[in-house]
Every structure is written in structure tokens, then in C-alpha cells.
Symmetry: C2
Subunit: 386 residues, 2 copies
């Protein structure tokens, strides 16, 4: 019961290449060459004719079929904890800008920080044969899920995919890394410089690499600053409400703090609310400093002093890495020569007891890019008063 090759089936909807070819009186091969790039050349007139016919028939290429035949797609996946969090939406925006330039479509997956969901999404993206996957945000806190994630990603890479993470996912995964430690250090020096000696730290879940790094830098900065500085750390969710709650507890437990360092701006927003609620004026009674420099920071009252992270830029970088690695050959080992120039952080600091090595390229030959952070002083920090 098979119809001849004239017109297979007038399926509902789009015209097929075959139909275009028939209508134009050329072969399938020629139509394909005309309509979807090819190395082969086609007679200009013929080509024009085919294009006209295609337009008339409203032909739209069939992505899945192309993907099958070409063994590659133009889809990339983006894993974020929550698109609705400005930190991640900025990354997404950056990534999408580059994707657009490269004619890629990006599938965004909201993981809600659920490790199972992350794994599941990776599989789904893999199933779609996404050309690459961008992973934004810290890995799961628990060791087991984090390892599972890494393993799954490595698998995907072995399967021919590319992965770049924004934030560290471990030694196997290429990454663009915000200089969280440097930023934390800058925050510490700023606060110490203002004379604060009783500092509250509103942190996110211990175990989040982002949290650990920022904290580590902060601690180091405090040490560097010298003086007798006392800190109290309280932990909350890495959200506005987490910051609010943690700050409330902080004030209860340790009412004498003259400064609060919130490990993210979102938390700082919550902290600000808690501070205000407790009757503390910012920055007169208590200074507040955040981290990330979300767009809203400048419009808070007082404007929030914070550490700027180039979120959008990181998204762009990550997407660029992911696509650059297409036909390109491996770059030489000198490619990272620029990284260290950035900040005078701890270039030669071998002191490290707690200091994690900040090598730009590990033995495994993974590629990483540092994204600088910068202290932005606004109105929420001021001299300490006791």
C-alpha cells in the first residue's frame, strides 16, 4: 500500500523537503543542498527557483530529522536552580545572548536545587542530544548527590557533549568561576577598615561551594586586616527569607554586632528588613554588605554596598566556551597566562592551611576562566560606632 515517491503523504501541517523538491522539479538532494547549507554548489537559477517554491509552500526544515541525519543538534541545555532568582536569570540572559549569535536554542531547566531533578534533567537533555550543557550554581551540598551529578556530567561528556559550569563542579568540569574568595576578602577589608570589630555573618547552607569560598576569603581578609575582630556566623537558606531569619537570630544571639556581611544580595535584602524591624539604622547603627550586586541593590534604602559579580558576563563566557570548543583544536597550556594578572589576591601565598589551590588548569586539563569580582561601596556601610 505504499504510494510512490511522488508525494509521500500530505501530512497535516508543514511541507516536506520532498514536496518542495517535487514541486520545483528537482531531486531531494538538490533541494536539500539549496535550502540547508552544503559544501556543494548549485546552479544559481535553479537555486533561486527552489527557494521560491520553498517559500511558497511555507517550507520549514524539520529539526529532528536534520538532527538525526547530521548526528548533531543546535540545542544547548542550561541548568539553573531557579530562573526567578535574579542571579540565575542574569546568567541565563548572558548565555542566551551568545546562543543567539551562534544560532543555538537554549533549553532552560529549573532544578529547584533538587539533586534528583538535576540528574533527571541532564538525562533528558542528553536524550535530546543537546550539544552542550551549562550548569549554573553550586553543586548539591551532600557529597553523594554531588558526586552523582559530576559522574553523570562526565558521562555526558564522554558521550560527546560539552559541559561548562558556572561555579565549581569539581575537577572534571570546565568552568567559569567568580572570584568569590577575592570578593569575600574585599568585603572583610572594607568592614575592618571602617573599624568594625563585631561582625555578624549571614551565610547560606554550609557546604555550598559558593558560600565556602566567599567565607574563606572573608576570613582571610579579616586575618590580613589584623586587629581583634570577632565574628558570629548564622546560617539560613540562600534566599531573601533565609537572610531575614538568620539575621533575626543573629541579633537575638549577638545584639552587639556593628556590621553584617550577607553572603548574597538576596540574603542582604532579608537582613535589611530584619535590621530595620529590630530598630537598627543602617548604616548608622549597623553596616550591611552583600554579595552579587543585583540590579536592585542601588535602589534599596540605603543603597547596598556589595561585591559585584559579573553574572551576565559569566553566562556569556560559559556559552562561549561551550561552543568555541566545537571544531577547535586544543589550545596550548599557555592559554591561561592572563588569569593571575587580575587581582593581587594571593598569587604567591603558599601559606594555605585552609586555602584551596586556585590553579587555573588542573592536571586533568580542564579549562577554567576566572571572573573578577569588585567591591562596590554604597550607602549601607559606614564607620563603626560602639
Amino acid at each position: 500500500m505504499r504510494t510512490q515517491r511522488s508525494t509521500p503523504t500530505p501530512r497535516r501541517g508543514a511541507a516536506t523537503l520532498q514536496q518542495v523538491a517535487d514541486a520545483a522539479g528537482v531531486s531531494l538532494a538538490t533541494a536539500s543542498r539549496v535550502l540547508n547549507g552544503s559544501t556543494r554548489t548549485v546552479n544559481p537559477e535553479l537555486s533561486e527557483h527552489v527557494k521560491e517554491v520553498a517559500a511558497r509552500l511555507r517550507y520549514v526544515s524539520h529539526g529532528p530529522a536534520q538532527a538525526l541525519a547530521r548526528a548533531t543538534t543546535s540545542l544547548v541545555g542550561l541548568l539553573v536552580h531557579d530562573v526567578n532568582d535574579p542571579y540565575f536569570s542574569a546568567i541565563a540572559a548572558g548565555a542566551m545572548r551568545v546562543a543567539r549569535e551562534r544560532d543555538l536554542l537554549v533549553m532552560v531547566a529549573n532544578t529547584y536545587r533538587d539533586p534528583d531533578l538535576e540528574l533527571d534533567y541532564i538525562t533528558r537533555l542528553d536524550a535530546q542530544r543537546a550539544r552542550a550543557i551549562l550548569v549554573a550554581g553550586s553543586p548539591p551540598v551532600a557529597a553523594a548527590p554531588a558526586a552523582a551529578l559530576r559522574e553523570r556530567l562526565v558521562d555526558y561528556v564522554h558521550g560527546g557533549g560539552r559541559v561548562v559550569s558556572i561555579g565549581d563542579q569539581g575537577p572534571d568540569i570546565d568552568a567559569v568561576l567568580p572570584e568569590n574568595a577575592a570578593g569575600g576578602r574585599a568585603a572583610a577589608l572594607h568592614l575592618a577598615g571602617l573599624g568594625h570589630r563585631e561582625i555578624g555573618v549571614v551565610t547560606g547552607p554550609a557546604g555550598l561551594v559558593t558560600v565556602a569560598d566567599r567565607l574563606e576569603g572573608f576570613t582571610r581578609g579579616l586575618l590580613e586586616a589584623g586587629g581583634d575582630i570577632h565574628t558570629t556566623a548564622l546560617q539560613g537558606d540562600f534566599t531573601r527569607d533565609g537572610g531575614y531569619q538568620a539575621t533575626r537570630r543573629l541579633l537575638e544571639k549577638h545584639p552587639k554586632v556593628t556590621a553584617v556581611f550577607a553572603l548574597s544580595d538576596l540574603m542582604a535584602v532579608g537582613a535589611l528588613a530584619a535590621l530595620r524591624e529590630a530598630g537598627r539604622r543602617v548604616p548608622d547603627d549597623v553596616s550591611l554588605i552583600g554579595f552579587d550586586d543585583l540590579a536592585i541593590c542601588a535602589d534599596l534604602t540605603p543603597a547596598l554596598t556589595t561585591v559585584r559579580v559579573d553574572t551576565e558576563g559569566m553566562g556569556e563566557q560559559a556559552m562561549r566556551m561551550v561552543v568555541a570548543a566545537g571544531p577547535e583544536a586544543e589550545a596550548g597550556p599557555d592559554a591561561d597566562a592572563d588569569a593571575d594578572a587580575a587581582a593581587g589576591t594571593g598569587a604567591g601565598d603558599a601559606a594555605g592551611d585552609g586555602v584551596p589551590a586556585d590553579a587555573a588548569v588542573t592536571a586533568e586539563q580542564r579549562t577554567t576562566i576566572q571572573s573578577p569580582t569588585e567591591l562596590i561601596v554604597r550607602g549601607s556601610t559606614g564607620p563603626a560606632v560602639s
Copy 2:
């Protein structure tokens, strides 16, 4: 290694169903039935065995191939002006939640309000055979591009796709519509009730349906409230900076305003900055009211009075509509019996002359859902002082 000589091609990367079938000693058909749902049943033991083999071989189904064979995908597109705008990221988050429930992957396209980009993205999504497309945000301001967009969408629908817009895209497109007019009216009544008689309106680009609707409701509300109220409208981009600029101009041109209505919260944030800069205290000197109820509103100083729009809910609704229409019943004209049950809107409509009919289903049989808005009174509005 584990490669059998019987397998077609040990391609780089993933195992194919064929390889799994061979390794499990069953036919391709059986493997398919086991691993990817089917109506047909398979012997439990055999099934288990195939699954084991598949797991061992790390088989991951090939989406594009499935799409080709099944003539349908599990991809849906989401068109937004800018993911980085909290209004849209909230919609995206809502849509993704539902997508996740339905095992759909969503491809997000950032259009930057560029009509050409929108068209292009629709084509690209169509090419991927996206099962549906969600369009968020007002259509282009200019008539021609707007019409082109609509036409392209209708085309896509005729090709078998589903489209739902969030915000009105014209009479051909199913939509979930925020009750912008009602919200505008509520804002007007609130302000009028507080005694304001000189009101500044900070609007977005004339022509944006969203802007027009909110404005229309506002004007109507003012009329309803009666009294001798004077308004001055200034226009800016639909962004924070647009609000800032417009407000500056407003204050220059009309310094006596005692209240400002910003047509979006983002604009209100800018307005707040401009007001503060001009030395006006909010709400003592000037009341300020926004629209949308972004998460940040409550944390501004003063907390922003605004009209709540259930952005995330709209995203969910839209995605639900898009997938609900799955079975593709088509059926006779009786199939829609359920629709009207939703709201007691205008069962016996007929009435309207000037009033835009808010029928749930137009003659064209498109489906729309209203998403209610709600006035949220916070600290940025207060009694008028003269």
C-alpha cells in the same frame, strides 16, 4: 571491550536501541516497547532483562529520532522580552513548573522586544517542531510587525502547533490575560480615595497593550471616583530607567503632583529614585503606586503599594492550556462545552457597546483566561497633602 561484533556501528558516545536489542537478544521492536512506553505489553521477565541491559549499556533514548518516528516532540518554546526582567522570569518559572510535571522541555527565547527576532525565533521553534509556543508580553508596538507576528503564529497553529500568549496578541491567539484594566481602576480608586487630585502617570510606550489597558482602567477609575482630578502622563521605556527619566521630566513639568502612578513596578523603582533625588518624601509629599508586585516591592523603602499580578500563576496557566489541548480531539462544535463553566463572565453577553466584551470565548472560538489583579496597599501611598 564490551562491543559485540554484531552491532552496526560503535559510534562515539551513546548506545543505540539496536545495540541494546542485540545485547539483550531481543528484537528492536521489543526493546522499543520496553524502554519507551507502548500500548503493547511485554513479558515481565524479558522486560526486566532488557532494562538491565539498557542500563548497563547506558542507553539514552534519541530524542530527535523519536520525534521523527512519532511525529511529535516534547519541546515547547517560550518567547519572552527578557528573562532578566523579573516579570518575565516569574512567568518562565511558572511555565517551567508545569512543563516539568508534564515532562516537557522548554526552550526559552529572549527577544529583546525586537520584532524580527521574535519572528525568527518562532521559525526556529517551529523548525524544532516545538509542540507549542508560549508568547509572553505585549506584541510589538508598530502595527505591521504586530500583524506579522500574529500571522506567523497563526501559521504555526495551522501547522499543528499550539500557541498561548500571556497578554493579548489579538483575536486569533488563545491567551491568559491579566486584568490590567481592573488593576488600573483599583489604583485610581485608591489614589482618589486618599484625596489626590494632582496625579502624575508614568507610562510605558504608548501602543503596548499592557500599558493601554492599565491606563484605560485607571482613567475609568478616576472618572468613577468623580471629583476634579487632574492627571499628567509622561512616557518612558518600560524599564527602571524609563521610570526614572519619565519621573524626572514629570516633576520638572508638573511639580505639584501629590501622587504618581507608575505602570509597572520596575518603572516605580525608577520613579522612587527620581522622587527621592528631587527631595520629595514618599509618601509624605508624594504617594507612589506601581503595578505587578514584584518580589522586591515589599523590601523597598517605603514598601511599594502596587497592583498584584499573578505572574507565576499566569505562566502556569498558559503552559497548562497549551498542554491540556493534547488529545487534539478536534471533534464537533460541541466539544467545548466545558469552557464556559469557568467564569460566569458573560453567558448571555450581547450587551456591550463601548465595553470591551470580556467573553471567555470569542466568535473565533479562541480561549482566554482572566488572571485577577489585586491592590496591595503598603507604605508608599498616603493621604494627599496640599
